[in-house]
C-alpha cells in the first residue's frame, strides 16, 4: 500500500517540468504575457468601446482625485517639515523648494499616486472582475456575443493607463502647493520666489520621465487588476484573493519599475 502511494507521487511529480509551484509561476508569466498581447491586439482593433473607456476614466481618475489630492498635499507638507532640520543644519533652508520639487516631481508624485491607485483602483478592478468571473457573468457575456475582454479588460487598462499620468500631475501640483504653504509659513518665501527656486532644479527630462513612469504604473495596475480578476477561481474566496494579490503584485511591480526607470533615465541624462 505504502509502495503504491510513493509510486503515484512520483508519477504525479513527473507531470510537472520542475515542480508544481515553479511550473505554476512560469505558467502565470506566460498567461500574463498572452494577456498583454491580447490587450494590444484587442485595443487597436475595432469596435472601440469609447463610452466605457470614458466611464472607467471617470471612475478611475475623477473618483480618485480627492483621495490623491489629499495624499499629495499631506506628502508635500510632511516632506517639507522633515527636510527642513537637515537643511537648516547647513543654513540652507533656501534650498527647500529645490529639494521638495526634485523629490516630488522625480519620485514622490508618481510613486504616491501609483501606490494609492493600486490600493483603490487595482483592488477594485480585481474584485469586480473576479466576482464577475466567479458568478460566470463573463461567460454569459461571451455567450451573448459581447467580447468581454474588450469591454471589461481593454477599457479598464486603457483608462488606468491614461488617468494615472493625469493624477500624477495633480498630485505634483497639490504636493508643491502643500510644500509652499509650509515654507511660506516658516520662511515667509513668496509664491514667485518659491516656484522660481523649485523649477530651477527641474529639467524637461524629469517631467517626461515622471509621465512615462506614470504610464507604466497605470498599465501595470490595470494589467495586474484585470489579470487577477479575469482569471479568478474558487468562488468568493477567489474574489478576495484576486483583490489582495492585485494590490500586492501592483505595488511590488511599481517599485521594480521605479528602479529600472530611474536607471534608464540616469543613463540618458
Amino acid at each position: 500500500m505504502k509502495t503504491n502511494t510513493v509510486k503515484s507521487k512520483i508519477l504525479d511529480e513527473q507531470k510537472y517540468v520542475i515542480s508544481k509551484k515553479v511550473d505554476a509561476f512560469f505558467t502565470d508569466i506566460y498567461n500574463v504575457y498572452m494577456f498583454i498581447l491580447r490587450f494590444f491586439k484587442e485595443a487597436f482593433s475595432p469596435p472601440f468601446e469609447f463610452k466605457e473607456i470614458i466611464n472607467q476614466c471617470y471612475l478611475v481618475g475623477y473618483k480618485s482625485l480627492a483621495l490623491i489630492s489629499l495624499t499629495g498635499f499631506i506628502t508635500g507638507i510632511v516632506f517639507t517639515k522633515q527636510s527642513r532640520p537637515s537643511l537648516s543644519n547647513f543654513g540652507a533652508t533656501s534650498w527647500l523648494p529645490s529639494l521638495i520639487s526634485i523629490a516630488i516631481v522625480k519620485a514622490l508624485a508618481p510613486l504616491v499616486t501609483a501606490l494609492i491607485a493600486a490600493g483603490k483602483v487595482g483592488s477594485n478592478m480585481g474584485a469586480e472582475l473576479g466576482s464577475m468571473k466567479v458568478t460566470e457573468q463573463i461567460d454569459a457575456m461571451e455567450v451573448s456575443a459581447t467580447n468581454p475582454f474588450k469591454y471589461l479588460v481593454v477599457t479598464r487598462i486603457t483608462a488606468v493607463t491614461l488617468m494615472i499620468p493625469i493624477l500624477v500631475l495633480y498630485t505634483g501640483f497639490v504636493g508643491m502647493m502643500g510644500s509652499y504653504l509650509n515654507i511660506h509659513q516658516t520662511e515667509l518665501t513668496s509664491f514667485t520666489a518659491f516656484f522660481k527656486s523649485a523649477f530651477a532644479s527641474i529639467t524637461f527630462l524629469d517631467i517626461y520621465a515622471s509621465i512615462f513612469k506614470a504610464f507604466c504604473y497605470g498599465f501595470t495596475i490595470g494589467v495586474a487588476g484585470c489579470f487577477q480578476g479575469y482569471y479568478a477561481q474558487n468562488g468568493t474566496q477567489g474574489v478576495g484573493r484576486a483583490a489582495n494579490s492585485t494590490v500586492v503584485l501592483s505595488m511590488f511591480l511599481i517599485f521594480v519599475e521605479e528602479m529600472i526607470i530611474v536607471q534608464f533615465v540616469n543613463a540618458i541624462r
Binding site: I54, N55, C57, Y58, G61, Y62, L65, F90, L162, P165, I166, L167, L169, Y170, G172, F173, F195, K196, F199, A200, I202, T203, F204, I207, I211
Partner: protein, 330 residues
C-alpha cells in the same frame, strides 16, 4: 453633487484638460527658466578644467542670468570646449574682450559660468565668438592652501604650547613675571615710579605749554612793529652793517689765525737748537758757558773799574777829569 451618468464624459474631459494645463504650465515654466523659448545666440569658451560643469548650467553676466550651457566637449589634447546659449538681449553688453570663468552658485552650489569684464571701446560679441578664459581657483586649490595654513597653525600652536609651558614653569622673564611674587612687587613699584614720572611729565608739559605761550607772546611782540627788537630784526641798514661787521670780524679772525700760525712757527723754532735763540733757550751747556762768560765779564769789569779808577788818578789823565768836574759844577 450627484453627477449623472450622461455627464461623465464632460467631467472626465474637464479633469483631463486641467491635468494637461498643469503639464503645460510646468513645461513652460521650466522652458522659461531654461530659456528654451528665448531668442539666443551661441558663444564658446575653452577651459583647461570645467570642475564638474554640466549641460544646462546657468551663465551669469554681471550677476544676471543670461543663458545656459548648451554643450560640453573635449577640445585639443585635454581642454574642454563649452558652448553657451546666451540671450540675444545680453549680446549688446558683452564685449569682444570679455572673459569667462567657472564659478559656483553659492559656496556649495552648482557650477556656473561667469562672464565678466570687457572694455566699452571694443565692439560687442558676435555669434560663435570665443571668449577669453581665466582659470578660477578650484576647491582643491583652496583646500591645498588651507592645508598649508593648517600646517602653519600646527607649528604656531606647538610653539605657543612650548612658550606657555615655559611660562608656567617660571622660565624666562614672562614666567618670572607670572610666577615670582617679588618680581610682581618690583613691577608694581616700577609702575608707581612710572606713574610719578608721568605726573612730572604732565607738569613739565604744562610748564612747557606756558613757556610756549610766553614764546608765542614774545614772538608776537617781536613781529609787532614799533619796538627795538622788531626794528633790529626788520631794519635792512642795521642788517647790512652787521653783515659788514661780521665780515671784518672774519678778516680779523683770519689775521689772528695767521698770526697764531706764525707764533706757533716761532715757538717751534725756539724749541729747536739749530738757531741762536734756540740754543740760548734749550742748550744747558751753552747756558753754563754763557754764565761763566758773564761771571768772567763781571770779574773783568770789576778789575777794569779798578784799573780805570787808577787811570783817573794817573798824572797823565788827572787834568782831564778835573776839567770835566769843573764844567759840571758850572
Amino acid at each position: 453633487m450627484k453627477i449623472l451618468k450622461n455627464n461623465r464624459p464632460v467631467v472626465v474631459g474637464i479633469f483631463i484638460l486641467l491635468g494637461i494645463v498643469i503639464l503645460l504650465l510646468t513645461l513652460f515654466t521650466i522652458g522659461g527658466q531654461k530659456e528654451t523659448f528665448v531668442k539666443s545666440f551661441t558663444l564658446n569658451a575653452i577651459f583647461n578644467d570645467v570642475g564638474g560643469l554640466s549641460v544646462g548650467a546657468n551663465i551669469w553676466f554681471s550677476g544676471v542670468k543670461v543663458g545656459t550651457v548648451k554643450k560640453i566637449g573635449f577640445h585639443g589634447n585635454s581642454q574642454v570646449q563649452v558652448t553657451m546659449n546666451v540671450e540675444k538681449d545680453a549680446e549688446a553688453h558683452i564685449r569682444k574682450d570679455a572673459k569667462a570663468k567657472i564659478g559656483s552658485d553659492g559656496l556649495i552650489g552648482n557650477k556656473i559660468i561667469i562672464i565678466y569684464g570687457g572694455s566699452i571701446t571694443l565692439p560687442q560679441v558676435e555669434k560663435n565668438d570665443f571668449l577669453k578664459v581665466e582659470d578660477a581657483q578650484s576647491t582643491d586649490d583652496m583646500l591645498a592652501t588651507l592645508q598649508v595654513n593648517n600646517k602653519n597653525l600646527v607649528a604656531i600652536t606647538s610653539d605657543f604650547k612650548s612658550i606657555s609651558h615655559k611660562i608656567n614653569s617660571g622660565e624666562g622673564s614672562l614666567g618670572a613675571l607670572l610666577n615670582d611674587p617679588s618680581f610682581a612687587i618690583k613691577l608694581n613699584k616700577t609702575v608707581e615710579n612710572l606713574q610719578t614720572t608721568a605726573t612730572n611729565l604732565k607738569t613739565v608739559s604744562e610748564n612747557s605749554k606756558s613757556t610756549m605761550a610766553n614764546f608765542q607772546e614774545f614772538s608776537g611782540k617781536i613781529n609787532r612793529p614799533g619796538n627795538s627788537i622788531n626794528d633790529f630784526a626788520s631794519d635792512t641798514i642795521v642788517y647790512n652793517r652787521i653783515v659788514g661787521t661780521v665780515s671784518q670780524l672774519q678778516n680779523a679772525a683770519t689775521s689772528v689765525s695767521r698770526f697764531t700760525a706764525n707764533l706757533k712757527m716761532v715757538s717751534e723754532k725756539l724749541n729747536r737748537k739749530n738757531n741762536a735763540v734756540g740754543v740760548l733757550l734749550n742748550d744747558s751747556a751753552s747756558a753754563t758757558s754763557i754764565k761763566m762768560t758773564i761771571k768772567n765779564l763781571e770779574t773783568s769789569s770789576k778789575k777794569l773799574d779798578e784799573d780805570l779808577e787808577a787811570i783817573q788818578h794817573n798824572f797823565l789823565l788827572r787834568g782831564f777829569f778835573k776839567k770835566k768836574e769843573k764844567n759840571k759844577e758850572e
